[in-house]
């Protein structure tokens, strides 16, 4: 029989106690035992950053971080970013700037960004690029992600950042007004 052990930890401010197999990773525990499937596993080898979560405020790869090493520690996942249903500035900035497409890298990208901004609330563009080098995204080509992170850092975000009422914002020439049929 596999070796089992008791694990106590805090996940998104909630204390959890469970019995796990010693081989389980933090990713296994979060996804399979706690049902927190927001954390995604892609490369499963600590290369891609999709599984990034925060353990005592430090960004780690849940795919290779042994759950046992989270004993008595505080874990934060994407599900904890909007505790009262209000999106965090980082989440809102990713929506405003289309900082994702398929969304599979997004939870890890958001957690890495959260860790960055907690440590360095006003990063330069180069600092953002450096901090996110370990988070791969295959859809966006990164430009809109970096814009989102910088906007979140500036606090330059709002739920209405994209006005519905202004037709064709940004057009060189603007022949398009709201048309009647």
């Amino acid at each position: 029989m596999p070796e089992t052990m008791d694990l106590s930890l805090t996940v998104n401010s909630r204390e959890r106690a469970l019995r796990i197999e010693a081989r389980e990773t933090l990713g296994d525990v979060l996804r399979d035992r706690l049902g927190l499937t927001g954390t995604k596993i892609s490369c499963d080898a600590q290369v891609c950053g999709a599984c990034t979560v925060l353990v005592d405020d430090l960004a780690v790869s849940a795919c290779t971080f042994l759950a046992a090493d989270a004993e008595s520690r505080s874990v934060r996942t994407v599900e904890g970013l909007a505790p009262n249903g209000v999106l965090s500035p980082v989440q809102q900035a990713f929506i405003d700037h289309a900082g994702f497409q398929c969304g599979f890298c997004t939870p890890g990208m958001l957690m890495a960004t959260t860790a960055l901004l907690e440590e360095n609330p006003a990063p330069s563009r180069d600092e953002v690029i450096h901090a996110l080098e370990g988070n791969l995204c295959r859809c966006t080509g990164y430009a809109q992600i970096i814009d989102a992170v910088l906007a979140a850092a500036r606090g330059a975000i709002s739920p209405d950042a994209v006005p519905d009422a202004v037709p064709d914002a940004g057009l060189d020439t603007a022949p398009t007004a709201e048309a009647t049929r």
């Binding site: 929506i95 969304g103 966006t140 992600i145």
Partner: protein
Amino acid sequence: MRRVSTRGAAPAPIGLPVPRRDGVAKVTGRGRFTVDIGMPGLAHAKLLRSPYPHAVIRSIDTAAARRHPGVVAVVTADDLPDVRLVYGHAVADHPMIATGKVRFAGEPVVGVVAEDAVTAEEALRLVSVEYEPLPFVTAPDAALADGAPIIHEQPGEQRAHRGFAEDIARTHPNVCSESRQSWGEIELAFGDAHLVVEGEYRYPRSYAYAMEPYTALARWDEGELTVWTSGQHPYMVREDLAQCFDLPLAAVRVIVPYVGGGYGSKSYTKIEPLTAALALRAGRPVRLGLTIEESILTTRGDAAIVRLRSAFDRDGLILGRQATILLDTGGYAENSPLVGRKAANRLGGPYRIPALDVLCSTVYTNTAPASSFRGFGAPQVTLAGESQMDEAAELLGIDPLEIRRRNLLRPGERPWPNVRGIDADLVADLDLAAEELGWTTPLPTGHGRAICLSASDAGSEPMTTSLVRVHPDGSLTVSCGSTEMGQGSSTVLAQMAAGEMGIELERVHLLQSDTAAVSYDRSTGASRTTTLMGLAIAAAARDARAQLVQWAQESLAPDGPTVIEERSGVRIGDASHDWGDVVRSWFGGHAGECVGRGYIRRSGTTEEMPPFWEIGCVGVEVSVDESTGVIRVEKLVTIGDVGCAINPQLVEGQDIGAAMMGLGMATREELVYEDGNLMNGNLFDYRVPRTTDLPEIRSVIVERGDGVGLYGAKGGGEGSLNPVAAAIANAVWRAAGIRLREAPFSPERVWNALRERDAAARS
């Protein structure tokens, strides 16, 4: 982002950068992907894969694995006598599990289903397979040599009903398909030539790296099969499942949750038949979730060897192009025959070519199967074609932009007989790219610039339906078979429905990608969804509106006056009624529903093929590090010529993402085989672009209303990948005086080319 528009007006929210409708789901972690799905009684499968690139399976001993505690079923091909094992989109040559022989290292041989994935993996180690290794071949040119090992003794069944019969002309047992594209008098063209440029260009085996690995779940209920899959084309998967298990189409339900990246790699059928077969033997729902390492072995992009000759007159006008293309399709055809046909079609690119002759062969090798991948033959052939445009410009003393202007097809001009004329202004696109790149500004030493273009026959087949259901409160359910894989279909399709019905976006709800719940769409690929599903939704909206106007007349003004149709409802005299009012009134109560139907097929504006031309126009500025051979793309310009940007923010994201993917292919990405084994089949060794590779970016969106879609829309999202490798190669020539003909332009290749250049200069 810069927008350049001359298109006509479109009703809001069409054309607005509204936030993605999947945004909250995806930033909160609540969005469900196939990997997140569970269900009661779910068992988990793992696969034993062949260690040999080519071998006969002598025997398989599964007894110990079957006895292992927690194992539910152990399945080999012999355990599936009631299943049609072989499937394939173009050529039915692909057994869902190895039958008697393996054709690449990594081919699935045994499936184990257990209570959990770890137990299944343990049991795999208890299976013993006796192989008789065969000689193998991993390169397409070697596969066509005399005495090469024969990979398929029996040809696969040609899927003539899908239009591939004519592509199968076997000149060698290892040739999977041959596609020829030709027009004009090719001998004459080369006979009259002032200049002929010749060369061989190579494009690598590539991996799309959709971050969500291939995952499927299957459940059988009283002879009905339900499959959840991370796949782009639910209806195509349904057809293959129905054939494999001899079921009516209606008894197969394929559901696609959010897809964690596709890029073509999740088009057509992958692991779904095997998952369903495992569930059949297990007698329980089964989940088969591959790792990324296994996903690389499931589908890759086609490597290409392109031998191209281009004939020019003294003014730089193209007289002809003649090419042979070998595509390495790996152990099975998958969709490479279509990639091959497209490669042949796309070799002419965006140019007026009086005579062309291209023969493209897809060739079996003992490597992982190749199939659709973003660009679909275009990146492979564009490297060749656009390299020769610059080579010719230099030899003729013509500016590289000028030689392109002279040859680019003009709006409406047909690239070859009997196809749609070009629905774009390519010269204007080129000039925009030059302006954004700063073509005439001085460059630092060691830097170079280039602009390259492509034109792809895109959109696939117009076979698309949609239902627009108007509810009694005026809200809409729009049902469509198009998948949300990150490209933003759930947002732009809702925008189009809201615009066409004249209601707020918040009142539109989209139902996607469930073959039991939504009506048919052929596929989500070839950049077709915005154009073709957009037209289907518009047609369904028109159908609903026509019914509602009639219903208003019947129920609200049976004796007159005449009902006037307005943007968001009807007017009768001075009274306005929204669509919900009309539904309730016609049914005579508080409930009811109006169903609008939209069908798009080869008829009317979508009769001519292709449905649209997908344009690529990319400019780069690169620097070359002479001491390390590292190429850095300093600046990248993308021109998104999309006719009408339904959502410009999403168009920008698709363009930049495509170009960055092209940058990865051009500079780093290559699946390397040695001794029949994939040497870098993991994310450590297969390096994709990172944040630090991001150049300065200028994204331009061009809207001239010249597409066949709604308000002149046409597809995008692949075009900006296609010319990137060529643009980098041409820019490196100007930066460092080396002509790169084999992608990726890795530091090692570049360094060697720099040393050869220096040696040649000394001698």
